[in-house]
Subunit: 291 residues, 2 copies
């Protein structure tokens, strides 16, 4: 059931992304090719789906929010391309395929990431059918959470404090590196739908729990998941001497933590609505995934 819902979303999101970033006969087409290579590498589209679900939760009517949803997926994809570069995590594989820089070279991977990031804000700004002040507010929120006090900040801590970490610092890192963009998805959906500040706060709390749980599950899968399903070698955190929540809590402790965070997220959803089963199913699905 939830798989079908997700699949329907994924198809609509992919169609929109395909339209927004289409190939052309321009001499600079190579960068579009490189960007599309990573954009259509089989991502789960969790962030855009969350945005669309929160948009609907607060009364929005579907299609208008697809551009904004795609913008968040483009930002997520740029961050993966840049993260894989030799000067960052130096990962050769991603989703079962050679990383962007292995396939297209470092220079083109850098530019493909820059392109996705730059275009994402234009795509979001070209939202039609939603009040312009809301679009402006959502854009501001998105930039803040993708930027220095959000995703990039988390990446910086990850880079600067490699190996030396405790549970507070690691929680902060996860909240920024993974949590901020998931938060942006839920909150931008809410802002675009016209949710009031109290509701936006609830969406934010929900997303922070989900984002933390999401990263902890990633840690567990990196330790004991299936290489085939993950599409990348397991054990890369160990290889990169990265301290994760699994090191601090053990696998069982990390699993319990992810479950606790998921339960908290479900409780927040209950406060928001007693109708939206899809959001609840997605929340549970994220906890139980094996890839």
């Amino acid at each position: 059931m939830i798989e079908l819902t997700l699949k329907n979303y994924q198809e609509k999101i992919d169609m929109r992304l395909d339209m927004l970033l289409s190939l052309s006969a321009q001499p600079y087409n190579k960068v579009v090719e490189a960007a599309r290579y990573s954009l259509f590498a089989g991502g789960k589209r969790i962030r855009p789906i969350l945005l669309l679900e929160f948009y609907k939760l607060f009364g929005g009517n579907d299609d208008c929010a697809y551009n904004f949803a795609c913008a968040i997926e483009m930002i997520h994809t740029y961050s993966l391309i840049h993260d894989d570069l030799p000067c960052m995590d130096n990962d050769d594989m991603r989703r079962g395929k050679p990383s962007n820089h292995i396939k297209f070279g470092e220079g083109m991977a850098l530019l493909a990431g820059d392109a996705l990031l730059t275009e994402s804000f234009g795509v979001a700004a070209r939202t039609i059918g939603i009040d312009e002040a809301r679009v402006k507010d959502a854009l501001t929120y998105l930039s803040n959470n993708a930027g220095i006090n959000g995703m990039i900040g988390g990446q910086v801590i990850d880079t600067c404090f490699e190996g030396e970490t405790d549970i507070d610092l690691i929680t902060k890192t996860y909240s920024l590196k993974t949590g901020a963009l998931i938060k942006a998805a839920a909150v931008c959906g809410s802002i675009l739908a016209g949710a009031d500040e109290e509701m936006q706060k609830k969406a934010e709390e929900y997303a922070l729990c989900v984002g933390l749980a999401f990263q902890i599950i990633d840690d567990i899968l990196d330790r004991q998941g299936s290489e085939e399903k993950l599409g990348k070698p397991v054990g890369s955190d160990l290889k990169n001497q990265k301290v994760t929540m699994v090191d601090l809590l053990g696998v069982d402790g990390a699993k319990a933590k992810a479950k606790e965070l998921t339960d908290r997220a479900l409780n927040i959803l209950d406060e928001l609505t007693n109708e939206n089963d899809t959001l609840k199913e997605i929340t549970n699905y994220l906890l139980d995934r094996d890839y």
Copy 2:
């Protein structure tokens, strides 16, 4: 006279940039430090000044457009940081100082560029006192011209067609790589001020001439300028086997071309106004500069 006008602008722009990207006690402060290092390295602030002048030309009242002006300077700065990286032009010096990656390492330079680009759109979206629909339109225009069909496209051609070029391809590359962001400055200023489409078109034509002339002057300075004034070694185009307009037209031919483009730009200004002396002085100043 024009020097004083520019200096006044530069001071106000620097003050706003300083406020928008301020240091903090966050554990990820290093990326702010790295971003500020390049942002305050002595840039001429040509793009934000052009934006503010076009905003005024079409009746806008100063202060409201400073955020947007700063956003364009942040995008310009990110592009310089990423251009200097080893996987791109591999330049060790910029404006008389070590390049960002020499000073902070490649990973941090990558993130500093990403941060400036991400934050720039938030800064632009936080424009206050200007109609929201105009801000949205200007944001779209900015993203388009900084993105694949603009600055990044030019960078891609530069990377892919190194050494093999003719006057048409080089003109296209310059129009995208340098011209597009200068165009965005002039046109976004016009959009924000509420200029109609015909006026926006004129601003676009003006900026394309200025942008091309600007890059040709850069080529000439790289061939016969003063290393001290430029703050970087001259002859880097030759070193990188980059074909420039100087190779195709000779120094005198390139100078004549830049003069011709500047005259055309001045004519367009005459069609727009017979009052704005500052814009004319800036246009001439850009042709006559030696750094």
